[in-house]
């Protein structure tokens, strides 16, 4: 922890607030993942952690290391960028897999695959 003593107060306070916010959002995302009942509801909870949760942690890291190293350290922002760009891949994969299984089991909770006649779900 000794190298953190070099961080001036004006940088330490916003960084600490951002870390609290980011970890709080991540915790809430995890809480939602544990508490929400349906699979599709649970798809939404991690978005808290991957959007502003990640961003505030990354911003805190940028502030801390830029002041520590006396030069702009911005490579952390790439983490935020790639997390944002790559999460849709996993989310779609999970969402479509769940939808496929629910449709195969003829669950009434999911909309039918045929988009041509949305009023008439097939009764086979």
């Amino acid at each position: 922890m000794s190298h953190l003593d070099a961080v001036p107060l004006w940088a330490a306070i916003p960084a600490a607030l951002l870390i609290l916010l980011g970890s709080g959002l991540t915790l809430l995302g995890a809480l939602g993942l544990a508490r929400l009942r349906s699979f599709y509801d649970r798809l939404h909870a991690p978005a808290l952690a991957t959007s502003w949760g990640t961003l505030s942690l990354v911003l805190a890291s940028v502030i801390l290391f830029s002041t520590l190293e006396q030069r702009p350290v911005v490579h952390d922002l790439l983490i935020g960028f790639f997390v944002m760009v790559t999460t849709p891949v996993t989310m779609m994969l999970l969402g479509r897999a769940a939808l496929h299984r629910d449709r195969a089991e003829r669950s009434a909770a999911v909309p039918p695959a045929s988009l041509a006649e949305p009023e008439e779900p097939s009764r086979r």
Partner: protein, 161 residues
């Protein structure tokens, strides 16, 4: 020029990323440019459909709107998660017909929808152009449809032409 650098945006982005990850110096600029150009050729071998950006000026506007919406829906979803079990929250599926057809534009829309807590992209039918979303707090179906179609899709159509 276009045969040497088939994807100028990609190459510029990669050079920038190289410089950010290392240090700003002439040697790294040259090395990064070399690697980026080779990566551009590799991308060219995949032959993706080239996005044609029509209106650059609309990009920062869209980014600002999306950042604000992500912040707002973070607050909304965080509150809903905390009050789970007490409120009368109703989630459900929503069909949104899209006019967007360009794969890159759809990819950007998917990033926006996924990054915004409260909406999840479930399925897109390329034949009919209908997007199936799952919405965490589906109180106002028309409002959500309006959000996707007018707030995001209209601007993406403007950008990608």
């Amino acid at each position: 020029m276009s045969r040497l650098v088939p994807y100028p945006l990609l190459v510029v982005g990669l050079v920038l990323m190289w410089l950010i990850l290392t240090r700003f110096s002439l040697g790294h600029l040259l090395l990064g440019t070399g690697i980026a150009v080779v990566a551009g050729w590799a991308m060219g071998a995949l032959e993706p459909e080239r996005p044609r950006l029509r209106r650059w000026s609309a990009i920062p506007v869209l980014m600002g709107i999306v950042a604000w919406d992500i912040l707002r829906s973070n607050v909304a979803v965080a509150r809903l998660v905390l009050s789970e079990g007490r409120g009368a929250r109703r989630s459900g599926f929503l069909r949104v017909p899209l006019r967007l057809r360009h794969p890159s534009a759809l990819a950007v829309l998917a990033i926006i929808v996924t990054a915004t807590p409260g909406t999840a992209w479930v399925e897109y039918d390329a034949d009919t152009g209908v997007l199936l979303l799952h919405v965490f707090d589906l109180v106002d179906e028309a409002g959500w449809r309006d959000l996707i179609q007018n707030r995001y899709e209209a601007r993406l159509l403007e950008i990608f032409g």
